[in-house]
């Protein structure tokens, strides 16, 4: 397909929905409306089949057996790594490390950079970070005497760039760890600009891409970040698999924090040496089928055409925004100019858990609570929010059902 043809490809949402068997489920007697994609996305048949085929036809341990199945497993596993490399445009598969998910990736980075940190050094994160991009840094700060400083957000839920500039004035700033897309607000942060600002001050950059990859294809070379991390399960792939991308020199320098098989070159009681990248960070038998599944997920999503997906998703967000005023007392939290299709909200007089429970009664799945972002909840002075997060397989009709359900709930409590 030519680039133009790919760009013009539109999404046939009904056909796409047939690729996701779970979307045909009923919940509480109603057709499932799945709007909790930000927590975890559903899996297409392509992923389920790839994993089953792997177990039926290829399974063995990787990089070990002197036999045909071992070769097949290794080829499938390393093939998936190459798929990820292409997906994020990394220069080399040595820079693509399998982890259990974004959380493990960030922990690996934080731990690996600990040796660089001195007491008083500053690690900059933002108020809108997921706990997974706060707590690992706090743990490392505790060990090293470094400090974790938050970059404030604006009332619209955008990163306050002036606040970042003043934090970067400090000559103790060492690491900038920010999310590409906010899981609560849907805000798309201007990461390229943030990375450039940090780089100009010699500050290392870590980008949490967990919420970005379902919507955008990150180009790690164009972004010029030092690290990028994401999870498979939010990208329509399996749970238990994620990716850590890193600049090669930094990965070489970093110490692994898990030891065991696979990650070693040579073990003796006198001296043990590490394997080369990426295996140095992959102790133990890896999640092989999950890696294969993630590769299949990326192939599937890319095959649909990112432009078509983005157009479809933005139409969902636009329709949702239009309908907000039809629910008395509903307020959207996070009104950034650039957003992925995520709608965090509150309704006057209702607790998010009330909203979640009564939506579930109507077959609609959303997430409620603090979304692992307690500092952000504090900033917006809410105990939690209700969050609808859409994927390309959601329909405009589902958006309308969602709002009709909210109207019903609002009436129920108003009685």
């Amino acid at each position: 397909m030519t680039d133009l043809a790919a760009a013009q490809k539109t999404l046939d949402v009904n056909a796409v929905r047939r690729d996701f068997p779970i979307l045909a489920e009923t919940v509480n007697g109603k057709p499932l409306v799945y709007l909790d994609n930000g927590a975890s996305a559903q899996k297409p048949v392509a992923v389920l089949d790839a994993m089953e085929r792997y177990y039926r036809e290829c399974h063995s341990n990787v990089h070990r057996g002197a036999h045909t199945l071992g070769d097949r497993a290794t080829a499938a596993f390393e093939g998936a790594r190459e798929t990820v490399r292409r997906f994020i445009n990394a220069a080399s598969t040595r820079q693509v490390i399998w982890t259990r998910g974004t959380t493990e990736a960030i922990n690996t980075i934080a731990n690996g950079l600990a040796d660089r940190l001195q007491p008083g050094d500053e690690i900059l994160v933002s108020t809108m970070e997921h706990h997974a991009n706060i707590v690992p840094w706090q743990m490392v700060a505790q060990r090293t005497g470094a400090k974790v400083l938050p970059i404030q957000v604006t009332p619209q839920g955008e990163l306050d760039l002036d606040a970042l500039d003043s934090l970067l004035q400090s000559d103790r700033a060492r690491i900038l760890a920010v999310t590409h897309v906010s899981n609560v607000l849907g805000t798309v942060n201007p990461v390229r600009e943030l990375i450039a600002k940090a780089k100009a001050k010699g500050v290392l950059t870590v980008i949490d891409g967990a919420q970005a990859v379902p919507h955008y294809r990150p180009d790690v070379q164009a972004l010029d970040c030092d690290f990028y991390a994401f999870s498979g399960h939010k990208l329509f792939g399996p749970t238990g698999i994620g990716v850590l991308y890193g600049r090669e020199a930094l990965l070489e320098e970093m110490e692994p924090f898990m030891g065991g098989g696979e990650m070693i070159e040579r073990v003796s009681f006198e001296r043990t040496t590490w394997n080369t990248l990426p295996y140095k960070f992959e102790a133990g038998t890896p999640p092989i089928a999950e890696a294969v599944g993630l590769g299949a997920a990326i192939d599937y999503v890319e095959g649909l055409g990112r432009n078509a997906l983005e157009t479809a998703e933005q139409a969902l967000l636009q329709r949702a925004n239009e309908l907000v005023e039809t629910v008395p007392g509903m307020t959207v939290i996070g009104t950034a100019k650039e957003k992925v299709p995520v709608l965090s909200f509150k309704i006057d007089g209702l607790h998010p858990s009330d909203i979640g429970t009564l939506l579930d009664q109507q077959g609609i799945a959303i997430r409620t609570g603090h979304h692992c972002a307690m500092p952000l909840m504090e900033f917006f002075c809410v105990p939690g929010t209700a969050r609808a997060s859409f994927a390309f397989y959601n329909t405009l009709d589902e958006v309308e059902q969602f709002f009709a359900a909210l109207q019903k709930i609002q009436r129920l409590f108003a009685e």
Partner: protein, 154 residues
């Protein structure tokens, strides 16, 4: 008797209203809207909870909403009285059902209530699963702890 103690004793939940009443009401409610309207209504019957008791030691952990629980052991009758509050309305309703089952009993009698059977019955109320973070189990756990301590002290 203090005003606070009187508030505990006056709580109709578990005294005038029984689980059989709730069961009976549920039988006549056809769809989820009616059932939840009833639960929300039960929540509105929770006696006013004193604001100065909304402190850490009365906080029930393990709920998505904020839940507070206080108790009073009536020295005359030896019965245990409870008050619960939450900022979520459905949780208030579920708390009311718990109070209907457990409030105003001797600690010994409270401890003999088959909680799993109670949860099973709540499940019969359709979809009020006690496992979904609404804190039913956490509330009941805390109430049983209180009853055990009072029973041991008695």
């Amino acid at each position: 008797m203090t005003a606070a103690a009187q508030q505990f004793l006056d709580n109709p939940l578990g005294q005038g209203v029984t689980l059989d009443d709730v069961n009976e009401a549920f039988e006549f409610l056809d769809d989820w809207e009616e059932r939840y309207a009833y639960i929300i209504d039960l929540g509105k019957q929770l006696p006013a909870f004193p604001d100065d008791e909304k402190v850490e030691e009365n906080y029930v952990h393990g709920c998505q909403s904020q839940v507070w629980l206080i108790h009073y052991l009536d020295p005359d009758s030896g019965r245990l009285f409870l008050m619960i509050d939450s900022d979520a309305m459905i949780v208030r309703g579920l708390a009311a059902i718990i109070l209907i089952a457990l409030n105003g009993k001797l600690p010994r009698d409270l401890l003999s209530v088959d909680v799993d059977e109670l949860f099973e019955r709540l499940d019969l109320f359709r979809h009020i699963s006690p496992t979904r973070g609404n804190g039913l189990r956490a509330m009941v756990g805390k109430i049983r702890d209180i009853a055990s301590k009072e029973e041991a002290g008695a």
